[in-house]
């Protein structure tokens, strides 16, 4: 039993089920990120935890106590909303202390708490202003201040950074991470941005169509996606997924596909599993991250198994720190990540190094990873 337990939670609006038997157990101090495309049910799950919506079946427990019928304000949670939801008619100070006031805290204590939080977030000079007079980043801080001041058991964040511009988003991301490290609170964080998910979380729950697709550490999610959806959704640029044929030859297992010139290419797997061998002669989907498809100089020096192939370069996209190169494998456009100073030209031919240690394979029928 964890600090926050979501036990077989199902939520339906009328006939439409938006959460299917969700099971998550969050430990104290964990930073859980719920990630998924819009409409996947992640916000609903957050609302269910907050008590803003009721589960149709299943249980929500915080510190072992069943919360299903407990009013949001009694669950000892705090929430930061996407739009910040600052009360427009109150000053920043009033916004921050409103919750304390509602819980009957005396004024002097409220103020003390307010100053403490304001100092922490460096918004002391904004306390007398109205939300309308603040910039996006300032509003974001106030919204967090409003949550922090409550000193809740669980923090809930609902896409808190999505209304900020790119630079501010990165800054605030770091700030949130810092806060978590310093305060050690339990956080459930909803986002559709997989980079945010990767950078912030201690664990990620990838959601799709109301189902938890995978629940694991960022590393597990990134390197061992449990299915095609997770593989495709996490990572930017996303994982290259190409159709290949499995050929078992003694100890070796090879993936057979074609390059841009329709020549057959064979890629040997590193440490092929028994279950992979069973797919002998069958078509599967091979997953290679862009950083696993690179030029020879850029290849991972620590990798135990790199395959080299020749292929044509289709498109070059310099991105500053790296250069992305598009090439064709198995009639699929694949993106490789090259060094920034690569001298390749579109149409030229070159050697690609493929890191087979990080390659993953999926059964195209079930879309599940073949372990």
């Amino acid at each position: 039993m964890g600090f926050l337990d979501i036990d077989n939670a199902t939520k339906s609006f009328g006939k439409v089920e938006v959460l299917h038997n969700v099971d998550i157990s969050v430990q104290e101090g964990e930073f859980l990120v719920l990630v998924g495309p819009s409409g996947c049910g992640k916000s609903t799950l957050l609302n269910v935890i907050a008590g803003l919506e009721e589960v149709t079946s299943g249980e929500i427990r915080i510190k072992g106590e069943v919360m299903n019928h407990v009013h949001p304000s009694k669950r000892n949670i705090a929430m930061v909303f996407q739009s910040y939801a600052l009360y427009p008619n109150m000053t920043v100070g009033q916004n921050i202390t409103f919750g304390l006031e509602m819980h009957g805290m005396p004024k002097s204590e409220r103020e003390k708490a307010m100053y403490k939080v304001a100092r922490l977030l460096q918004i002391e000079n904004l306390l007398a202003r109205k939300p309308g007079q603040l910039s996006g980043g300032q509003r974001q801080r106030v919204a967090m201040g409003r949550a922090l001041v409550r000193e809740p058991d669980v923090f809930l964040f609902d896409e808190p950074l999505s209304n900020l511009d790119a630079k501010l988003r990165v800054d605030m991301r770091t700030e949130i991470k810092k806060l978590h490290q310093n305060l050690g609170t339990t956080i459930v964080y909803v986002t559709h941005d997989q980079i945010e998910a990767m950078t912030l979380s201690t664990r990620i729950a990838v959601m799709h169509n109301g189902h938890i697709q995978q629940l694991g550490t960022p590393n597990e999610i990134y390197n061992s996606p449990s299915n095609l959806f997770v593989a495709n959704f996490m990572g930017s640029p996303s994982m290259n997924l190409l159709p290949v044929r499995i050929n078992v030859e003694g100890n070796d297992v090879r993936a057979e596909t074609t390059n841009g010139k329709s020549e057959t290419v064979n890629l040997a797997f590193h440490n092929p599993s028994a279950s992979l061998r069973e797919f002998n002669g069958k078509n599967v989907t091979l997953g290679i991250r862009p950083e696993g498809l690179t030029d020879l100089e850029g290849a991972d020096q620590r990798s135990k198994h790199v395959e080299t192939i020749n292929n044509t370069v289709d498109v070059i996209e310099p991105a500053g720190s790296d250069t992305f190169v598009t090439t064709t494998l198995g009639n699929t456009e694949c993106i490789g990540r090259m060094r920034a100073d690569t001298s390749l030209k579109p149409g030229s031919e070159t050697s690609f190094a493929i890191n087979m240690e990080k390659a993953v394979v999926f059964d195209p029928e079930t879309e599940m990873r073949i372990a």
Binding site: A50, H71, S73, A85, N89, R146
Partner: protein, 293 residues
């Protein structure tokens, strides 16, 4: 959203603009005409009016009709003018407007932020109530007021106006609150605010524009009501419109049109004032509420 920055992206030429101003002025004239007739005739002696010069400017300017209408014209057995009835109207209008607006705000709040099964249907029922012609309800209303024992009291009159006003006020506030961010309500819930606290502390302070619309609408309708005022107020508790009507509609006596018009403008003064003072918030309120869905 700010009205002051009317940054329409439409560009128009000089000739078009002259034309636009011309048309706008013409319409202003059209709207002013009846007021012109009223004002001009209220400032001349009766003989000039019955002499036929109803559209002309006064030959002799006089404010006597105004003084008479206010304080000495005959509206009943005593020549009291409209003065004493002014307070009656205020005593009726202020609570009626306040209560109906407050109920409308609460209803709008419930119907948008605390939705339940069948809420839209209920709202539909309330909205349809706006379309009841008042002549229909007169007799049954008298029965109910009689049963409640508040016929002939200001309280009864207030009740009547509240009943037939909440359809509109609910409509206004519901539309306004529909676009009010629900996240704010959720945040307040998590902060521990209850049903009324959320309403008082979060929604109501942001409801200024739509409250203006509701108040203007209700104030105008209630102030100008005649049929309920005449039927359900006691003689000396009668509102301004009843007094004005008595001034204007006397059947077999001498008709002093100049006093009638002066009285009419006096009786309309509060509503005109409300329009002029609150008018600039009016479009803003409409913008925020009733025309956006």
């Amino acid at each position: 959203m700010a009205i002051s920055s009317q940054d329409t992206a439409i560009r128009t030429g000089r000739i078009t603009r002259t034309f636009i101003y011309l048309v706008l002025m013409l319409f202003a004239l059209f709207y002013m005409l009846p007021l012109y007739v009223m004002v001009v005739n209220s400032l001349k002696p009766l003989s000039e009016i019955t002499g036929g010069g109803m559209m002309a400017l006064p030959q002799v300017w006089t404010i006597e009709p105004w003084l008479k209408a206010w304080s000495t014209a005959q509206v009943g057995v005593q020549a009291t003018g409209l003065k004493p009835y002014f307070l009656n109207s205020i005593l009726m209008v202020v609570p009626a407007v306040a209560i109906s607006t407050m109920l409308g705000a609460l209803n709008g709040y419930v119907l948008t932020k605390w939705r339940f099964k069948g809420d839209t249907l209920l709202f539909g029922f309330m909205l349809f109530a706006c379309f009841i012609p008042f002549q229909i309800v007169l007799i049954p209303m008298a029965m109910v007021l009689g049963k409640l024992g508040i016929s002939g009291t200001t309280a009864g009159l207030v009740l009547v106006h509240v009943v037939y006003g909440i359809g509109f006020t609910t409509l206004y506030f519901r539309n306004y609150y529909t676009v009010f961010p629900t996240e704010l309500v959720r945040a307040a819930q998590i902060d521990g605010a209850g049903f009324f606290q959320i309403f008082w502390r979060i929604l109501l302070p942001s409801s200024g524009p739509i409250a203006v619309v509701s108040v203007i609408w209700q104030f105008t309708n209630i102030w100008n009501d005649f049929i309920f005022g005449a039927s359900f107020a006691s003689g000396n508790g009668a509102p301004m419109t009843v007094a004005l009507n008595n001034l204007v509609q006397s059947s077999t006596g001498v008709k002093e049109f100049n006093i009638h018009f002066a009285g009419a403008i006096l009786a309309a003064f509060p509503t005109l004032l409300v329009y002029i003072v609150a008018g600039r918030y009016f479009v803003r309120g409409l913008m925020a509420g009733s025309v956006k869905g």
